[in-house]
């Protein structure tokens, strides 16, 4: 791993450990889990060039599956999360297969529509899912450790979150990831070079769905319930917003985007009457202004400062 990445990792871990102290634990938990969700979206969008506007399907499927497993079988939450990931990936396979038959904007609309279908289906199966009320009373279990309080759950879940982020990182910095980027840049060329591009795209989709499922599983268990909100298209929209805001194609940008959007939502909740106006305006400004997102802009600014410092130091040594 490059030195810069290690530095980022240390900073990231530090922030993650301190977050519940600075904010309050429920908000901190939401930020790190949405960050993982946004990263899963960025994996497809920034590196695969595929905008999925229906990723709430996997976040939600993972959430419901984990919640039901934890509640029905009193499973420890990491085990329930594995179940959630499995369900999310199983769902991502057929959806991805159908969706990648279209490209670009069509792909986005198709994923959006499938997620909406899942929303209605889950609503219908209300004997299983509780419909509007959702699955309530989901226990937080870890053998030997009490994780009932949100603050405790946060630290217990953090390793899993980092595992997910690490997996995303490894996917991106791997031969698979490089091929994915080349498909994004020029699919025809990649095909000409002999790569089965559809298969790569499908694998990326399923992996991304699994990560979203992990995040969703932890989210549902952390909240002690799973509700239809998890599957609504506005949830997909929020994840995309965070990715675009933070920076497409930079994994950690998703984290920044998540933090900004959730902090805004939290503070706006007590202040303004129009969260949508502000969020919408920010998104419009992002798309027009920082088209590459805040992370690269920040990164660029940081690099310029760093370069100037180095140049000054070199000048002084002369």
């Amino acid at each position: 791993m490059r030195r810069r990445d290690i530095a980022l990792l240390v900073v990231g871990i530090g922030i993650a450990l301190l977050l519940p102290r600075v904010l309050y634990s429920a908000l901190a938990l939401r930020i790190v889990l949405w960050a993982l969700f946004a990263v899963s979206v960025d994996l497809l969008l920034g590196y695969g060039g595929m905008l999925s506007f229906g990723h709430a399907a996997f976040w939600g499927a993972g959430g419901y599956a984990a919640a039901l497993l934890a509640k029905s079988f009193q499973l420890p939450f990491p085990v329930a999360a594995v179940g959630g990931i499995a369900v999310a990936m199983a769902l991502a396979l057929p959806i991805g297969y159908l969706a990648i038959r279209r490209r670009g904007i069509y792909f986005a609309m198709v994923t959006l529509a499938f997620a909406q279908m899942l929303f209605y289906v889950v609503n219908e199966l209300r004997d299983l899912t509780g419909g509007e009320n959702g699955v309530q009373g989901v226990p937080k279990i870890l053998p030997g450790i009490s994780v009932g309080r949100t603050a405790d759950f946060y630290y217990a879940a953090l390793p899993l979150v980092f595992l997910g982020l690490f997996i995303a990182y490894r996917i991106v910095h791997s031969p698979f990831g490089h091929v994915l980027v080349s498909i994004r840049d020029n699919e025809a060329r990649a095909q000409a070079l002999g790569y089965p591009t559809q298969r790569y795209k499908l694998i990326a989709f399923v992996l991304s769905g699994g990560l979203a499922g992990l995040a969703g599983s932890l989210f549902a268990i952390g909240n002690s319930f799973a509700s239809l909100e998890l599957l609504h298209w506005t949830t997909s929209g929020s994840a995309v917003l965070m990715t675009v805001l933070g920076g497409m194609g930079t994994l950690w940008g998703g984290g920044i985007g998540a933090a900004i959007v959730l902090l805004l939502e939290d503070s706006l909740s007590s202040v303004t009457e129009a969260p949508g106006v502000v969020t919408g305006a920010i998104l419009i400004a992002s798309v027009l202004g920082f088209r590459r997102g805040l992370a690269p802009a920040l990164q660029g600014a940081a690099l310029r400062v760093w370069d100037r410092l180095r140049a000054e130091r070199a000048a002084r040594q002369v």
């Binding site: 309050y24 634990s25 429920a26 908000l27 939401r30 209605y120 609503n123 209300r126 509780g130 419909g131 509007e132 009320n133 959702g134 309530q136 009373g137 009932g148 949100t150 989210f219 909240n223 002690s224 319930f225 509700s227 909100e229 909740s269 007590s270 009457e273 129009a274 969260p275 949508g276």
Partner: protein, 418 residues
Amino acid sequence: MKRVLVLAMIAAVVTAACGAAAPTGGASASPAQVKLNDGKLVIGVINDQSLVYADLSGKNAVEAVKMAVEDFKAKYGENALGGPVEVITADHQNKPDLASSKAQEFYERNNADIILDVPTSSAALAIAKVANDQKKLYINITAATTDLTGANCNKYTFHYAYDTFMLAAGTGKWVTENLGKQWYIIYPNYAFGQDMEKSFRGAVTKFGGTVIQSDGSPFPNTSGDFSQLLVKAGQLKPQILGVMQAGGDLVNVVKQYNQFKLGDQGIKLAIGLLFDTDITAVGQDQMAGVVYTTPWVWSMDDQSKQFADKFLKRTGIRPTFAHAGNYSAAWQYMEAIRRAGTDDADAVVKQLEGYKFSDFFIRNGNIRAEDHWVMHDALLAQVKPSSEAKEKFDYSKVLGTIPAETASRPLADAGCKK
């Protein structure tokens, strides 16, 4: 002898004066005796301030609570509660996870002693769990689900203004007895709608009517189109069309009911849950004649009009029952603190349980110890045509009262195990 008589008279006068000075409703602690746990009383109001219920409760419900605090201090003195009182609020946007998160923040970070309001059943239930975990008080005013005093009841949760049982007991009974016995019920196919259908079916059957059929409409309803069910009603030709849809769905149903001229065909409309905001959206005259049940109407008597006038001056609108309910609940909570002498949750719960009272919002009130449902009289109201309205928000007149016993679900059916 004369001295004894004079002493006795003085004693009698002094006793009478003391008795007159004490406020009604039982013994109260004098200000110096209320000791707050952390020196401060924090009241949290969590509701929908940007979506479906924003007009019904929303920011103005917070104003109502603030009014209650101010009036309480005016009555009992600045130090009535043994310390400063703070009202904090958050918008849950009808999202149960946001509601749960905010409730935790309020109880943990802001040391909130109580949370009020909370519309939307899923959010209401989520906060009930948080309140129980945190062992702090929660009085729900604006959600309808009977689960708050049933499957999800707990020691710290109280259900104040209305529930689906009350609505059915009122409207179901009166309409069956006075307007028609053959019902066709349509309802939104989710927990609230199913709850309403069950309650209404029970009430209609109990009072001598029959439900020919009931059909659920998909929820959420994407198209806003209810023509399929309305055409079916036109075919079945019941005497009464019972509509359990709420909010925007209800507006669509009524608009389309009028378009299909079902009223002209002798099919009368009975609405399960009706708010003033719905009447505004459809139009008062389009809803004229509709009968519904409500805990309170602002124009019902002088006490209520007094409150409504104060509210109008402060917020520019007439209060809905949610606004009035928040004021009343906040007031009764503060009274309970004075009786308990502390804001400690367990002590206040003891003071609330079994408490009987009346104020402008609650008549013949009794807070049941077993399930924490606040029994009280409900009202049967009817929407009047705009020609009879004395001012802009004068929508309804009161037809009758439903006594508390009839309006409350029998304990045996509740299924509450605290």
